[in-house]
């Protein structure tokens, strides 16, 4: 499949979906011929002119639905993405019809509707939508193994070793009580990578940090493939699914906002 690099697409899945319109014609813009009559500077029927309503769409994972087999089955992806993720899109669009947050980018909306811990009605679907887009792009076929270069250096700097990072990530995932996510994210203030778990739909976006990897630990993410064996799910994610390419791209973007140290200027 001609899979595209999806750097920009996940930040805002906006698209023009519908418009109430009637065909505009030259008459709408005709100004009065007489110089003495007041000429309208806008089309006569401006008030009923076409209105564009933009809503969120379902972004496709950057791989075929069966590409993550055998670590995540096609069935799981079909249902998780096609039904559950899709439902968040539809529910959010429905809420946005009457919401003051219409027009926000998804990231803005997640942060604003979190409302410092008293989430507004839009939060759950907006945050779930963002997190799930992020999740699909955190994985790739033939992923896992070990990162290289700058990413590995940063992880070794912040976790002492790559194995330590994996252990911390897995322990956080397994210690979630109920539904939640586990994240590798970049703390802006401390300029370091950190692992944390969150409940329900919360993500590091809400406290202003930059997510780098997100793993869905809700039961729907793994139950069909692993039943209650969360350890196997997390290990397979780390060893075979996590996309270090995505991580690299995200770190590059994050460096525009967080100074991770002096740049290495090549000599000569």
């Amino acid at each position: 499949m001609g899979s595209q690099v999806v750097m920009a697409s996940n930040w805002c899945g906006c698209g023009v979906v519908s418009s109430n319109s009637r065909k505009m014609s030259a008459n709408d813009f005709k100004l009065s011929s007489s110089p003495f009559k007041f000429s309208k500077p806008y089309p006569r029927s401006a008030r009923s002119a076409y209105r564009v309503t933009a809503y969120y769409g379902l972004t496709t994972p950057p791989y075929e639905l069966d590409a993550l087999e055998p670590y995540m089955s096609k069935r799981t992806v079909e249902i998780h993405w096609g039904q559950a993720h899709n439902e968040h899109v539809e529910k959010l669009n429905k809420i946005l019809k009457n919401s003051t947050f219409y027009g926000h980018t998804l990231e803005e909306m997640v942060k604003a509707t979190y409302n410092n811990g008293n989430p507004l009605v839009e939060f759950n679907d907006a945050s779930s939508l963002w997190s799930h887009d992020f999740f699909w792009e955190s994985m790739q076929p033939k992923g896992g193994s070990i990162p290289r270069g700058g990413v590995l250096n940063q992880i070794e700097k912040d976790f002492e070793s790559f194995t330590n990072f994996k252990d911390e990530f897995a322990n956080a995932a397994l210690s979630i009580f109920g539904s939640g996510w586990v994240w590798l994210y970049l703390k802006r203030n401390e300029k370091k990578l950190v692992v944390a778990k969150t409940q329900n739909a919360v993500s590091p976006l809400v406290w202003g940090d930059i997510p780098i990897i997100g793993l869905d630990m809700w039961e729907h993410a793994y139950y069909l493939d692993y039943k209650d064996d969360r350890l196997a799910y997390v290990n397979n994610f780390l060893d075979h699914l996590v996309s270090w390419h995505s991580v690299m791209v995200r770190m590059m973007r994050a460096e525009a906002f967080v100074n991770l140290g002096e740049p290495k200027i090549p000599e000569g």
Partner: protein, 229 residues
Amino acid sequence: MAVRFVASRKTLAQTLTPALRHYRSLTTVTLPDLPYDYGALEPAISGEIMRLHHQKHHQTYVTNYNKALEQLESAVSKGDAPAVVQLQSALKFNGGGHVNHSIFWQNLKPVGEGGGDSPHGELGWAIDKDFGSMEALVKKMNSEGAALQGSGWVWLALDKEQKILKVETTPNQDALVTKGAHLVPLLGIDVWEHAYYLQYKNVRPDYLTNIWKVISWKYAGEVFDKECA
């Protein structure tokens, strides 16, 4: 010359306590047996779900609760207050999981043994009085269960103080008592994904509609009668 042994209170305590401790054993919990086969609730709830739910999930809560209890006992006897406080979330989660599921298994019965029947007696009257009808109660519980974000439970509760029935929800494995000691759980429906995902996938409303076919009012009625006696 007689040697006088003065046993101070501290020495006495030190000698006696180990002996006392030898007789005091920690009461742990065990996984209750299901009063029906795993497949007996089909087609409302599949045998595979019942088996995993009971043998894996509930068993894990039992095991981890007992572990937390042992750690708690050790922390209490050492006077380690920070450790005692730190264990609370594990106790609440795993203990709650055990309490909640123990009630849940008793709320369910195969179709031939009371599953799906209407409530009788005083409880039936109370439902009509407080909700209007059985259908209204089912509708309310289903809508609250479907709307619950993440994992949790939906309950039919008896408010002992006000003497009315209420529909409540609790998140994760929080037991109903965490919402108030005056609330008595009569009927609970597990809306964690593990309770339905293998069969109903993410269509929680279908699970909620179908589970009423195997819900038995016997346990709820007994608890209700006892509390209202």
